[in-house]
């Protein structure tokens, strides 16, 4: 804590010096100046208990009533140094665990970097990536409170104009602490071709090693020592992950290929059977095996036609700071999802989590601009496990029509096949087959004033005679915009034909047709954006940046402030 305190003092001192220098500059045209910039993100949640939708029985609903999350980021550049500090605050926050309350306040990030000729040095909390992130990605995703920063040191060296290497060592951030395991890694990235050449290559190779800490290894060994002899293995302290990747650009084509391999590592396979010493057969045990990922993406873009084909095969590629971590915690890497990122409310309801243990996926995305008014697009994605069992399939179509500058219409239909057994952990559940037509209509009264309507209807398949999961949904939204400052939205998500898990009305014994309304007001002034929302939200999968988790229902008022300065 003391070093962080002194760092803060140093930073503020530098900042004050900068202000002084800037003042001096204003007065004396002094050229010595620093640049201080930053941003603030502040979210506040007022929790209003509503047990009818399951928004209850958490500390926030029961007694705390309010929670806040905030990130205040400051960056300063001067004398060839680049440095930054971030103040993080979590008050009765439901971000870390949606069912619990988390409190933590402190310096969430600091870094300092300097480039000396061809050498660059960065120390502190570092965000970085190797290739597409399959073996290493240090990043943050605030809506899910993912912060996989590396707390350590990184050096980079520009070998030639087109080739550079980097190496790092450190530990992964864990809120205001770090995981005890140690990471180290290196990568070389290059570029082959010239500005005038039609064919260019951007090859690279990276490696990351994780050394498991003694505490985590002791816990792993203690767990394995409760297993019967047929299920045990000797775990490794050191695991290495390698990746080779390349982007080939040739005219309208772009082809990315990455292959990754991980040496033997203990991972928890939730679907592996184990017979306990007591004789019970249970699901889930540690296994150790080598891992691999093969990922490729081929794109073509020319004269209004865009085409992307992607494929991915994943096997045993759960790579974490410690194998005991679950869900989205402690991940060292990021495996790109192989599905379309949907934004419309009902279309995004069933999202496919990346399956680290095993997955085979491919996706085709096509878009064609018929003329300036009309654009057609379609997407198909398919995910199975390594045994061929269907996990997810989506067919998506979209027609976009623009009439002068007056109105636009976006419409289409989405068909999904979603494995509730795997993604929601519901035993024996039939897959959710949905058909969801949608439209989005935007009408501009004048360049500043517009109104937008969107609507979707999700029709759900049957599961053992009843509609699967929550059944059918209807969603409608109206948004009125007064540019550049104001926007107002009102929406409702209505469980029009309830399904298996829809709540039951205790008085009638019937499944309830519940409304989930939402009202938002947005105000923007220059680089400041404010929002105030009344929200009732059904439980579901919430995704951010391709990473998803199950979130409980929400009832209450949300407010946010975003500011850049």
């Amino acid at each position: 804590m003391i070093p962080r305190f002194w760092l803060l003092v140093l930073f503020l001192t530098l900042g004050l010096q900068s202000v002084t220098a800037q003042d001096a500059e204003n007065e004396n045209a002094n050229t010595n100046q620093g640049r201080l910039s930053g941003n603030l993100q502040l979210n506040g949640n007022f929790f209003m208990r509503d047990s009818s939708i399951g928004a209850a029985n958490t500390p926030q609903y029961d007694r705390q009533l309010f929670g806040a999350d905030s990130w205040l980021n400051l960056n300063y550049q001067n004398w060839g140094f680049d440095m930054g500090i971030r103040f993080d605050m979590f008050n009765n926050s439901n971000l870390l665990n949606p069912l619990a309350s988390y409190n933590g306040v402190g310096i969430g990030r600091w870094y300092i970097s300097k480039t000396i000729n061809k050498l660059s040095i960065t120390g502190g909390y570092i965000y970085d990536i190797i290739g597409s992130g399959i073996i290493f990605r240090a990043y943050e995703e605030r809506p899910l409170l993912i912060d996989q920063a590396l707390y350590g040191i990184k050096v980079g060296y520009q070998l030639t104009d087109n080739w550079k290497v980097k190496a790092f060592s450190g530990q992964q951030k864990q809120q205001f602490d770090t995981y005890a395991s140690v990471l180290r890694g290196a990568a070389i990235d290059g570029f082959v071709g010239s500005d005038s050449s039609r064919v260019t290559l951007a090859p690279g190779f990276g490696v990351v090693a994780r050394t498991l800490d003694d505490g985590s290894m002791n816990n792993l060994v203690a767990t394995l020592n409760t297993y019967s002899k047929t299920d045990i293995f000797t775990p490794k302290y050191n695991t290495y992950a390698f990746s080779a990747y390349n982007t080939l650009n040739a005219g309208p084509f772009s082809w990315y290929l990455e292959g990754a391999y991980k040496t033997a590592d203990a991972i928890f396979d939730p679907l592996k059977e184990r017979v306990t010493v007591g004789g019970d057969t249970i699901l889930g045990r540690y296994v150790q095996g080598e891992g691999s990922v093969l990922y490729s993406s081929l794109s073509y873009a020319n004269k209004g036609l865009g085409l992307t084909v992607e494929g991915k095969r994943t096997e045993n590629f759960d790579f974490r700071s410690r194998p005991q971590e679950e869900g989205i915690r402690g991940l060292l890497h990021y495996i790109p999802p192989m599905t379309r990122v949907n934004t419309y409310r009902l279309l995004a309801r069933y999202a496919a989590n990346t399956q680290f243990v095993g997955e085979q996926a491919f996706q085709v995305d096509a878009s064609y601009a018929v003329n300036k008014k009309l654009n057609l697009s379609a997407n198909f994605s398919n995910i199975t496990n390594l045994e061929g069992e269907q996990l997810y399939r989506e067919i998506f179509t979209e027609i976009y029509y623009k009439y002068k500058r007056k109105w636009t219409l976006t419409t289409g239909v989405q068909l999904q096949n979603y494995n509730l057994e795997v993604y929601f952990g519901k035993p024996d559940a039939a897959p959710a087959n949905t058909i969801t037509p949608y439209f989005d209509f935007l009408y501009k009264f004048n360049p500043k004033t517009s109104i937008r309507f969107e609507s979707q209807y999700m029709s759900m398949s049957k599961d053992h005679g009843e509609r699967a999961d929550y059944g059918d949904w209807f969603f409608a939204l109206a948004e009125f915009t007064l540019a550049p400052h104001w926007a107002f939205t009102v929406s409702d998500m209505y469980n029009i034909a309830p399904g298996k898990v829809s709540p039951v009305d205790v008085k009638t014994g019937e499944k309830e047709k519940i409304h989930y309304p939402r009202f938002d007001v947005f105000y923007t002034h220059k680089a400041n954006r404010f929002s105030l929302s009344y929200v009732k939200q059904v439980e579901g999968v919430v995704c951010s940046g391709g990473i998803c988790r199950l979130e409980p229902a929400f009832s209450g008022v949300k407010m946010s402030v975003n500011s850049t300065f």
């Binding site: 399951g54 029985n57 958490t58 500390p59 870390l96 665990n97 069912l99 619990a100 060296y157 070998l159 290497v165 190496a167 060592s169 864990q174 809120q175 995981y179 005890a180 180290r184 890694g185 290196a186 490696v207 090693a209 800490d213 985590s216 290894m217 002791n218 816990n219 060994v221 203690a222 767990t223 394995l224 020592n225 409760t226 297993y227 019967s228 002899k229 045990i232 000797t234 490794k236 302290y237 050191n238 290495y240 928890f268 010493v277 007591g278 019970d280 249970i282 889930g284 540690y286 194998p323 005991q324 679950e326 869900g327 952990g425 519901k426 035993p427 024996d428 559940a429 053992h464 409980p552």
Partner: protein
């Protein structure tokens, strides 16, 4: 060129895999079921599992706890607390395992991030977010807690009157090492095992009707966070407390245990010692 060779050599050195000395994994070696008198009592550890009849993954955690109990004998005490989002009974359930104290305890020890989840000695272990632990950490933390000498020992003398179902428990604390924490508490729980009732399992979307629920928390003889110990906890102190409780008729006394824990209350909620006895000896 020399520079590049130097870089390559550094990279190889940085990442090279010298042979590591591997840990020893034996697999299960069977149990060490020992019953010891209070004079010889060693550290006894409590694992409080949070579960629910609608929690599909929880039976796997419970089965794992049975293996841990078989391994550690009387030195490990398990309490299954039915609370949280999966604990709402089915319409066909014979029992509602939820208790007022269980609902308070899940809030006191924080809601789990996922299930199965348990707290070991209510201790915040280094590197953990909170007291709730995924099952990958249970065995290791139990082992590390068992290695610590107890600061006190607990003796429980139950007396159950079958005629009026009144249970009296005399609890004696023998303090071996002075405890200076300002707020120390004694909690007394009643658990019941081998209750056949509905439980969701991975086998089917309909619950198993005859699942044997074990060490389910049925009630407490103290407040959920314990009764403050106001007496001095200096080394050598002996503190006696007596509790009475009328057991509901549906609890089978032969399957019930009294669990006593001495824990801190404050920033740390750590359990200093635990002990359990049968209601009917």
């Amino acid at each position: 060129m020399k520079k590049h060779i130097l870089l390559l050599a550094a990279a190889i050195f940085f990442l090279s895999a010298c042979e590591e000395i591997e840990p020893t994994v034996t697999g299960s070696m069977g149990g060490e079921v020992i019953e010891s008198p209070v004079e010889d009592q060693l550290r006894q550890v409590i694992i409080e599992e949070f579960t629910g009849v609608r929690c599909v993954q929880c039976p796997a955690g419970s089965a794992f706890i049975q293996d841990l109990l078989a391994q550690h004998g009387e030195r490990l005490i398990a309490v299954s607390i039915h609370a949280g989002s999966f604990s709402f009974p089915y319409s066909d359930s014979q029992f509602d395992f939820r208790t007022e104290e269980g609902n308070q305890l899940i809030s006191y020890l924080n809601e789990p991030f996922g299930y199965p989840s348990a707290s070991v000695n209510r201790k915040l272990f280094p590197g953990q977010f909170d007291l709730q632990l995924g099952q990958g950490d249970w065995a290791g933390y139990i082992a590390s807690e068992l290695a610590i000498a107890p600061k006190l020992r607990i003796n429980i003398e139950p007396d159950f009157n079958a005629a009026n179902r009144e249970l009296t428990a005399k609890v004696t604390l023998f303090v071996d090492e002075a405890i200076t924490d300002p707020d120390v508490r004694l909690s007394l729980m009643i658990t019941e095992s081998n209750i056949a009732d509905l439980q969701l399992t991975p086998a089917s979307s309909t619950p198993q009707v005859d699942y044997k629920h074990k060490h389910a928390l049925r009630g407490m003889l103290t407040n959920y966070d314990g009764q403050p110990i106001t007496e001095s906890l200096s080394a050598g102190a002996k503190i006696e407390k007596t509790f009475s409780f009328t057991m509901p008729a549906e609890w089978k006394e032969d399957e019930c245990e009294i669990v006593a824990i001495v824990s801190l209350n404050g920033a740390s909620k750590e359990v200093l010692q635990a002990h359990q006895v049968h209601v009917v000896e």
